[in-house]
């Protein structure tokens, strides 16, 4: 955030970076209006996320140069036995999201994109700050709820119930899910008999069965063949129309540009830039090694 760290040299000082006018809401109109924006659906106020990692070596400690056994066992600072490191993955992010907005989150590997997304979905507790959200938030991806040893049928019901659908709603959506995933009669086989493409198609079909108020997507478009990618893109647009607000984390700037009007650029857990997709993506690309287009 600008208040905690000086902007980097390469960061273009666009007026869009100053989103305070956008924040103070209803009374003042935003400077740029790509389309009619609704009421705030999410207010993110200086959020920090820290998590623990067990068994991690301290950064920069090479295994070739171990300290003596005595030191490893009794020196509390070296933490060689059962060491716990804390990762400060998101360091003070603030923004306001509005109804009808689709917001991309870009940044290098390890910039904290996925962690931020989980914190916004209410799935990973944040250590400081606050996230306020309207209605139900959901992260696209029920794969964690599914059991590969069980049949596709059973997993559709399990995934639907995990999303919070009632048994009757799952029943009503069942055929639609099977058809959308295109797995055909494989639905009665255990999921570990599926090809990876079939499994990911089924997972996507299940996870879009329920449309939340705020939808979070983490690299969902990277799976499946071209035909399925087109179908899933349509599905996301449909979800977006009904959901209100969509967040999309992706490595592909093309995907972000085609899906989102607004982009947050995250680096080392801090928000570097927040503005219209084209400008932020262009600025982000300039910092990439080789400056590739």
């Amino acid at each position: 955030m600008a208040e905690t760290e000086e902007p980097r040299g390469e960061e273009p000082k666009e007026p869009e970076v100053d989103f305070s006018s956008d924040l103070t809401a209803a009374d003042r109109p935003p400077k740029r209006k790509p389309k009619r924006l609704g009421r705030p659906t999410m207010v993110v106020d200086d959020v920090h996320v820290r998590y623990r990692v067990f068994g991690a070596r301290r950064m920069g400690t090479s295994s070739q140069f171990k300290p003596s056994l005595y030191k490893r066992l009794f020196d509390r600072t070296s933490k060689a036995v059962g060491s716990v490191s804390e990762v400060h993955a998101v360091r003070g992010v603030s923004f306001v999201a509005r109804q009808g907005e689709s917001i991309g989150i870009i940044g290098r590997n390890g910039a904290g994109k996925s962690t931020l997304l989980r914190a916004l979905a209410g799935l990973m507790p944040y250590s400081e700050g606050a996230v306020y959200a309207k209605g139900q938030t959901a992260l696209l991806g029920v794969n964690a709820a599914l059991l590969p040893r069980l049949t596709g049928e059973r997993n559709i019901v399990l995934g639907g119930l995990a999303l919070g659908l009632t048994p009757a709603q799952v029943q009503a959506k069942f055929d639609e899910i099977v058809e959308f995933s295109g797995i055909g009669e494989f639905v009665s086989l255990p999921m570990n008999a599926y090809s990876s493409g079939m499994a990911s198609r089924l997972r996507f079909a299940i996870s879009t069965a329920k449309i939340p108020d705020i939808l979070m997507i983490d690299e969902a478009l990277s799976t499946g063949d071209a035909e399925f990618q087109r179908k899933s893109r349509d599905k996301i647009l449909e979800v977006k129309d009904q959901a209100g607000t969509v967040f999309l984390v992706s490595h592909s700037s093309a995907t972000v540009l085609s899906m989102c009007e607004r982009v947050l650029w995250l680096d080392a857990g801090r928000l570097v830039m927040d503005g219209p997709a084209a400008e932020v993506v262009a600025a982000y690309k300039q910092t990439l090694p080789g400056n590739r287009r």
């Binding site: 103070t24 207010v43 306020y132 309207k134 794969n143 964690a144």
Partner: protein, 286 residues
Amino acid sequence: MLSHEEAAALASRHKLRRLGARPRLASYLKALVRRRHFIWYLASSGAMGRNQGSYLGQVWAVLNPLLQFSVLWLVFGIILGTREGTKDFISFLAVGTFLFGFMASGVIGGSKSISSRMALVRALEFPRAVLPTAVTLTEMIMEWPAVVVMMIILLIRGNPITWQWLGLIPVLLLMYGFTLGMAFILARIVSITPDYGNLVPIAMTLMRFVSGVFYSISTFTASLPALSVILNYQPFALYLSLARGCVQDGFTAQWYDWAMGVFWAAAVGFIGLVYFWRAEARYGRD
């Protein structure tokens, strides 16, 4: 930039709720009840998936407890001879092994229910109490074949079927309440400090040895009445003697035994739920 106060005011003006705040206990329970279908489906799917991937499949649900029973009978009944003071050792051991097995696997499975499903906790929003509840329920479903085997052994040994056998149903429900409470408490502890997960199976091994699974506590502690009371009324041993009072010839349970059984289930179940709920906003951090 908005100040914290401005952000909070903006949020409240548009009726946004704060994420990660712990819900009130009543609404938490309501949300848990709303997820009952998910709990049941998760539990039964877990039980189905457990014995899949082997040639004998669900037969293992019967074979496993039977083999365990045979081992304990060989070691304690034949080699060490702890049958002293028990009229029908095989029936005694059958009730002890199978019902203790339910509590032990419920407690051990429940203690890992959050830490082993962290991916699920980080992917979907639901009251986290769903997971310990479903895992203990899975153990209960898995236990049914063993309970049937236990009844067959009791019948073969010539224990008469009486109306008292129906008492087994409340005993199993009380055991479930107690086990669930333990699962809640341990799930919270293990998810925050995973190291304790290694101690749970060891503690359950200890309980197996001191809970009168394969010997009669009263016979072995005859000279120490205080120890006898403590060992007989700790929940694991108490539920075994309640069950024996229902199904085994020559055993009876008094009203105060039942009162104690209800007390343990209610107290541990309630304390466990509240203790687990209090950390609701912390699960999923690591």
